[in-house]
Amino acid sequence: MDNDTQAQTAPREADVDAILDELDERGSVELRTRMGPGGVRGSLQALLRMREISVLGATILLFVALSFATPLFPQLENILLVARQISILAVIATGVTFLFISGEIDLSIGSTYGFLGIVLASLIAKLGLDPWLAMLITIAAGAAIGFVNGTVTTRVGIPSFIVTLGTLSILRGGALLLSGGWPVMIKLARDDAFLNVTSGHVAGLVPTQVFWMIAVMVIGGFVLSKTRFGAHVYATGGNQEAAILSGIDTRRVKTINFMITGALCGVAAAMLLGQHRNAFPLTGTGYELDIIAAVVIGGTPLFGGAGSILGTFLGAAVLGMITNGLVLLGASAYFEPVAKGSIIVAAILVDTLIRRRRR
């Protein structure tokens, strides 16, 4: 360091205002060149919102295209059928959206869902528990599974991708061990309240599963966008270090999100058991990919910090419409995975292009 220049620029008995005024004068030239145009920033802001609009646009486009392609598609009964078909997926995807936004992933959701189905059916069929009590226990068991996933991930520091890959396998084995590999049937009367509420119809038309989906997503959307916890979820995934420095317990936030996801797997298991009155040990195999696809198509990035429940709903709707549309069009069932995969890649492509234009 040059001692002489330092002595010049830092006079003794410095009068603060004089120095500040001097800086003022010297700053006047540089000032003009440093200030960037504000107009560019406005359009960048619009780009950030473009992702949500593009999902909505794609959903509407798909709906209109399928309506033209087959007159059966826009029928109310068919739309309600699609809504019911996506409702279980959307319930679990709501939890996964929380997890993704906080920067974590859960690959065990399909197994958790299948395992909890066996647990719920066994509690009712083998232990003779009241189905509602059994459902509460199952949801609590789901939260407990999430607690384990979250605790191992955040306290031990193993990436959630690995931890939940482990629980994926463990819980699938658990479902097989618990059931002996056989379906578990519950013997409830056809008009039992549990069956009607979990998977009946309102006014003989609208499936109750759709109401479960709406309830879960509305509550989830509210928590995420309107509450303090929701703000902490976004902060945790957006910049974990910043969140920690601001006093947010990011490990707690993530663990709660794992627990929400697990609990919602329990809700989904009850919705499915009400529909089939049988629990199958292999239920949910590979389901995690569909659920994650819905979340990603809905605009929630894998690395967190952004996303919305509305986006996830639209993502689930896109997947549901594709499956349904292909059936109505008489396309080969083998084509369905190809179509789904293409949509996922297209969604990521849009994300990447938006992000590249932001730079």
Partner: protein
């Protein structure tokens, strides 16, 4: 590395307070190890209310480690922290915040995807019942940014698309906004700023002092340090090698302390 600093210990007589008679915060004999590296060694340090401390030292002297200990981000391996004369333990930044210590980090610690208001209230979002009080967040964010005379177009702008200076303003606004903040720590607050915005920040430091808050400023720019600091604390290789009143100190004296006499 233990031989040189011992010869010029921090002189208590050079550390007379400018406001109040009891330190707001006092560190006694703070040690911090990273593996085998002694980042801080028996550091004594105190800040009085309404006092501006200039914390200077070469890269790796331990400045950032020291402020992270004061702000609760790191826990010392030895020594005592006293707030208002009472020994405390900060197990995290939340504890330090409760004690009225707010920090502006060099990397700013902003969440790019979130808007200005969300960043200013990060971790302390106000609620009405269960719901975030967005109205209050927006109003108070506008207010604090106006105090800074910031040119941020809207408090609902995502921070990620702001300029470097604007991002700095958001980070400082957050520290200032913490109503209970009695001590604001700034790590190189003007390093990334243009001259106009640097000047605003230096004025802001004076405003903080006028409002009775203490400020610790880390800066490599001695000109800035001399223009705002009441007291200058020099760190060198993890030790406090000098504490000087601004009035009466010379820049060359400070430079000597920073680089160590053997280099001159």
């Amino acid at each position: 590395m233990t031989h040189e600093a011992v010869s010029s210990p921090a002189s208590p007589t050079a550390a007379a307070p400018v406001g109040g008679d009891r330190p707001l915060i006092e560190l006694r004999g703070i040690n911090k190890l990273f593996g085998h590296v002694q980042a801080l060694q028996r550091v004594d340090f105190c800040v009085y209310p309404a006092e501006v401390i200039g914390l200077v030292g070469d890269n790796g002297a331990g400045k950032s480690t020291l402020i992270k200990i004061i702000s609760g981000a790191y826990q010392p391996d030895g020594g005592t922290i006293l707030v208002d004369g009472v020994p405390v333990t900060f197990s995290g930044p939340a504890d330090a915040m409760k004690a009225g210590i707010a920090t502006v980090y060099q990397n700013l610690a902003l969440v790019d995807q979130r808007d200005v208001a969300a960043n200013i209230f990060l971790g302390r979002e106000p609620t009405r019942g269960l719901v975030l009080d967005r109205k209050r967040m927006l109003a108070e964010s506008v207010e604090v940014l106006q105090q800074l005379r910031s040119d941020i177009p809207s408090v609902e702008t995502p921070v990620g698309i702001l300029s470097g200076g604007q991002r700095q303003a958001v980070a400082i606004a957050r520290a200032v906004h913490q109503a209970a903040a009695r001590l604001v720590i700034m790590d190189e607050p003007v390093a990334a700023l243009g001259i106009e915005e640097s000047r605003k920040v230096l004025r802001l430091i004076k405003q903080l002092k006028a409002s009775g808050r203490a400020v610790i400023v880390i800066s490599h720019n001695l000109e800035h340090v001399f223009s705002v600091a009441d007291r200058i604390v020099v760190l060198r290789r993890g030790r406090v090698v000098g504490v000087r009143q601004r009035d009466g100190a010379t820049a060359s004296e400070i430079v000597h302390l920073i680089v160590g006499a053997e280099h001159l």
